[in-house]
């Protein structure tokens, strides 16, 4: 087979397919497996469409879509397998893998193994002493074995080595003692893990739903068999799969845990939130389809001659300059959050990026203690956001906080130098309580938490700039500023783009800092001065149980982030093409 493949003049030739009647029969069994799955899908669809299963609208739609998809994929797999198509092999693999995963999830839930993950740490703690005993036994056994090996030359029998026979027997005894310790430790470990309850537990779980568990286990076994059959080397030969394609399938198999995790925990909820954004849903009761109402309620704007002339349900957002008109909104808080986040972006991003660039250049210059400073600068990036924010909260307290104290000390110093004591000795800026300062406090904490990581990125970027460019600039008579302006900055464009884009995205998703700084007051306070879109959707979803509108806000935010990033990409591409 390999020669046939290597001798092929071009990759577009008809693939070689091994003649393997025995495997052909196995493939027909795999087809039968897909027929059974298709019948199962039909059974689901019948139950859903005939209303035998009493489902609310969203689950009914989900079951309907899943059943239809399963039916279509299996019918296609049967057809393609019959044609010995490589696509059929891949499709069969995919369907069987998904079915196997579904069975594992069902069994995991039915046997309540998920609960085991929750208490695993506790059980491990309880079982730690016996595990230590097992470790001691293993070490004991290894040492005794090494001693025995040294006493006994390779190939020698105990009886041949009369001088050390007693010592060898003693070493043997020590080895057995080590194994005995392992056995005792193991038994103790199983006892601590409540082995005595395991059998009754599993029996109870199986008794609760014996046919369900049996069916799931049986289908899992069949799916595993189908998977093994379809991915075997014989299968590759039978379907004429080239080695690169076989490896690709294996690669996908290795990727599948991550991919499935992505689909289940990221893409799935993403799609779900998109669906929910068209519903009125409190998260608990039945969802009601309302079309685009959540979006119109969120984004609705209207201009009127006066506040009273605004449509019902609209509130004044802002007075329009140079006119007597007012701009009203159906959801002023959403627009307030948008305003806040753009003010935040305009100040916080340059601060987080500019300070990082400055520090990276300082590090690059190589002053004494650079390595220590580099480590110190990076600390904010590895510190927990909530923890450091709580420290900042203490520091920003208007009455006993360090920041106001430091400003007061600075003022006193200035007053020593300037006659007339122009500055107050003590200030009480309400960093957290005054709407004028509150957003700025969030900006400070955000910029502080971001600049360390950005500094590392800029440092890496600076290290990638060739020294020859600086030497050439120096020969051309450039001073330090000109070298920075004309060499460093252009060479750092890619890094700057990456740093700016990631910082902008993080800024648009701002939540945790606001949440922690506001405690114990309502999140977004004071006077909604720190209300950001994510904070607002949190309020809507979890505090007011308006999950539909919260999802709509999330998607509006997604679109904003998408276009921001797209614009940055285009700008970067245009720059790259220009240069």
């Amino acid at each position: 087979m390999s020669s046939a493949v290597t001798d092929a003049p071009a990759s577009r030739m008809t693939p070689y397919r091994a003649d393997d009647p025995a495997f052909g029969r196995l493939v027909r069994l795999v087809q039968a497996w897909h027929v059974a799955l298709a019948v199962g899908a039909i059974w689901v669809l019948v139950n859903v469409s005939a209303g035998i299963w009493e489902l609310t609208s969203v689950p009914r739609t989900a079951y309907g879509v899943l059943g239809s998809l399963l039916l279509a994929l299996n019918v296609l797999a049967i057809f393609l397998l019959a044609r010995r198509s490589r696509s059929g092999r891949t499709l069969s693999f995919l369907v069987s893998a998904l079915v196997a995963l579904g069975c594992v999830v069902l069994l995991f839930r039915s046997l309540e193994l998920a609960e085991g993950l929750d208490v695993f740490a506790g059980a491990f703690e309880r079982a730690f002493p016996p595990l230590m005993l097992v470790s001691v036994g293993v070490i004991w056994w290894v040492i005794a074995r090494r001693v025995r090996t040294r006493l006994l030359p390779p190939g020698a029998l105990i009886t041949d080595f009369n001088v050390n026979a007693g010592a060898v027997r003693a070493a043997n005894a020590l080895m057995y003692a080590g194994l005995a310790i392992v056995a005792v430790g193991g038994a103790w470990w199983l006892w601590e893990l409540r082995l005595q309850n395991a059998l009754s537990f599993f029996w109870d779980a199986i008794s609760a739903d014996p046919w369900g568990i049996l069916a799931a286990a049986g289908i899992l076994a069949l799916a595993t068999w189908a998977l093994r059959t379809i991915i075997s080397p014989r299968s590759a030969q039978y379907f004429g799969v080239e080695s690169a394609q076989a490896e690709a399938l294996t690669g996908w198999l290795y990727l599948s845990p991550n991919l499935l995790g992505f689909l289940a925990f990221f893409a799935g909820p993403l799609v779900f939130s998109l669906i929910i954004s068209f519903y009125d849903w409190d998260g608990l009761s039945q969802a009601v389809f309302i079309g685009l109402e959540n979006y119109t309620k969120t984004l609705g704007l209207s201009v009127a001659g006066s506040v009273d002339a605004l449509p019902a349900g609209y509130s004044e957002l802002v007075g329009l300059p140079l006119t007597d008109s007012v701009l009203g909104a159906s959801d002023p808080l959403f627009w307030k959050s948008i305003r806040n986040i753009f003010v935040f972006l305009v100040i916080a991003v340059p601060l987080a990026v500019g300070s990082a660039l400055f520090l990276a250049i300082m590090i690059q210059v190589g002053y004494r203690g650079t390595k220590a400073y580099r480590t110190i600068f990076f600390i904010p990036s590895v510190a927990g956001v909530i923890g450091v924010t709580l420290i900042w909260k203490q520091m920003l307290n208007s009455t006993v906080g360090f920041v106001n104290w430091a400003i007061g000390e600075f003022n006193q110093f200035v007053n020593l130098l300037v006659p007339g004591n122009p500055l107050p000795d003590r200030v009480e800026f309400g960093w957290l309580s005054d709407p004028t300062f509150a957003l700025f406090a969030v900006i400070i904490v955000f910029a502080w938490s971001q600049f360390g990581f950005n500094t590392v990125l800029f440092t890496a970027g600076l290290q990638g700039i060739s020294r020859e460019l600086y030497e050439a600039a120096e020969l051309d008579g450039a001073n330090a500023w000109q070298a920075f302006r004309n060499v460093t900055l252009p060479q750092l464009k890619a890094t700057t783009f990456f740093v700016t884009a990631t910082t902008v995205i993080l800024a648009l998703q701002l939540f945790d800092i606001v949440y922690a700084l506001n405690q114990p007051n309502p999140v977004g306070s004071p006077d909604n001065a720190t209300l950001t879109p994510v904070v607002y959707l949190y309020q809507l979803g979890f505090q007011q149980s308006a999950f539909g509108q919260a999802s709509a806000v999330a998607w509006v935010l997604f679109i904003i982030i998408f276009f921001f990033t797209l614009a940055q990409f285009r700008r970067q591409r245009a720059d790259a093409e220009g240069s």
């Binding site: 993950l117 006993v400 003590r426 309502p522 149980s545």
Partner: protein
């Protein structure tokens, strides 16, 4: 390869056995010998929101004791987050997914939303069968737990839960600062019946003026109950009597909020919205309005002498808040009678006293025995201030059976904050406060 397989097998075995040990064994979790429960034992999960780790440990111990008492309950206790919001977020998510515990605690303001959504069980039948007497508990919270969701008023045939505990506001005092200010102690003024708004303002002013640099007369949180006390104490209220409309624009309510704003405008207080707790603990705050839940934190103070006094009396005597939360039963519990048995155990006088001795809450049982025991849980020396708050014509925090409390809280809170920060005048406040909260009653 064999070693890898053996290690993987061991981990799978450990997880499986952990699952078994967590469910089928005594939930002591420390490997101690368990008492074999009776054959008809019912497995139940329950959860509450402890105020701190020490309280969580006590709840765990109580859970184990109930299991070991052989009354047919095999309990698994789950400590919720100590902060408010994450506890609710997780609980609501689990309720949505159908994995919430059999019995759980929720704040009093959430009872209506949970009951109306059909998430909690109307335990009227099982409680009647068990001989439950609602009069054993303070009427304020209990009345809110006996409401017919359809009419929004108390009615026979409805029991949505039992109050876990109650709490109320008091003034935490820095006695050293009060001495330094040269004013009479609020505790003595209260005993003499002279602790009113005027005395409060004068004391706050004296502390600020005489306390030294940065010292504040009083401090309070920015959330609804703080400004709400002054509204109630002036004779006003959040809602009309039938709780179906806003009453924050009544003359009395406006008097209360105007007085409260005046205290801040005069500079007597820690700025509105600022967390006063660090200021109090730093010894820079004379009087700090807070609930019983702040007592464990106050007990850590060693730098100055402290005690508590009742809140100052306004035009309407009493009117302190009666905060509460309740144990409720999951509507999907498999065994409502067993769940009620657990609720009854958790709200017994012994359990309430054990929890209250930690300092964070007050027993919800309206009994002299419980009050006598509470007075011994010192410091503070003047525990009577809390009992005065609970007993002296309090205003029980309560859900909106005919409205949406979170929406009301958000709208009213934003408007009060705007008033306090000078963004709107008191006239504008009066004009708008009930308009902005009106959607909460639709």
């Amino acid at each position: 390869m064999r070693i890898r397989h053996a290690a993987a097998g061991a981990i799978v075995l450990a997880v499986a056995l952990s699952a078994c040990s967590s469910t089928a064994s005594s939930p002591t979790g420390d490997g101690s010998p368990s008492v074999s429960p009776p054959a008809e034992t019912v497995d139940l999960r329950w959860r509450t929101r402890p105020d701190n780790d020490a309280e969580a440990a006590v709840y765990k111990g109580i859970s184990d004791k109930i299991t070991a008492s052989g009354i047919g309950l095999n309990l698994k206790y789950e400590a919720g987050n100590s902060e408010g919001s994450p506890y609710q977020d997780k609980l609501k998510t689990e309720l949505g997914a159908g994995t919430a515990p059999d019995v759980f605690w929720i704040p009093g303001t959430d009872i209506a939303d949970f009951a109306k959504a059909g998430l909690i069980l109307n335990a009227s039948d099982v409680s009647a069968a068990a001989g439950f007497n609602a009069a054993d508990f303070y009427a304020g919270p209990m009345d809110q737990l006996l409401v017919d969701p359809a009419s929004g008023v108390k009615a026979d045939g409805f029991v949505w839960g039992v109050p876990r505990d109650v709490s109320t506001f008091a003034l935490y005092l820095n006695l050293d600062l009060i001495d330094k200010a040269g004013v009479e102690s609020p505790i003595e003024l209260a005993k003499a019946g002279k602790w009113d708004w005027a005395a409060f303002e004068a004391t706050a002013k004296a502390i600020r003026n005489e306390g030294g640099a940065g010292v504040k007369g009083f401090g309070a949180g920015g959330w609804w109950a703080n400004w709400g006390y002054f509204v109630n104490s002036a004779g006003g209220s959040f809602f009309k009597d039938d709780r179906t409309a806003c009453n924050l624009d009544s003359t009395e309510s406006i008097n209360g909020i105007e007085y409260y704003k005046g205290l801040y405008d005069a500079g007597y207080g820690v700025p509105f919205g600022e967390d006063p707790e660090p200021v109090f603990k730093a010894g820079k705050l004379g009087m700090f309005i807070n609930g019983r839940w702040a007592t464990p934190g106050a007990r850590e103070i060693t730098d100055f002498n402290w005690d508590v006094a009742p809140l100052p009396t306004g035009a309407a005597p009493g009117k302190d808040w009666q905060f509460w939360g309740a144990y409720v039963i999951n509507a999907k519990t498999a065994d409502p009678a067993a769940a009620w048995k657990l609720v009854a155990e958790l709200t017994s006088i012994e359990v309430q006293n054990e929890i209250s001795s930690l300092g964070a809450n007050i027993p919800s049982r309206d009994s002299q025995e419980a009050r006598d025991a509470f007075l011994t849980y010192t410091p503070p020396a003047n525990n009577q201030a809390f009992l005065d708050g609970v007993q002296n014509d309090p205003v029980a925090e309560g859900p909106l059976w005919k409205g949406n409390w979170p929406a009301f809280d958000k709208a009213s809170g934003d408007t009060v904050t705007a008033l306090m920060n000078g963004k709107i005048t008191i006239d504008k406040y009066k004009e708008t406060i009930c308009k902005v909260t009106a959607p909460a009653f639709k």
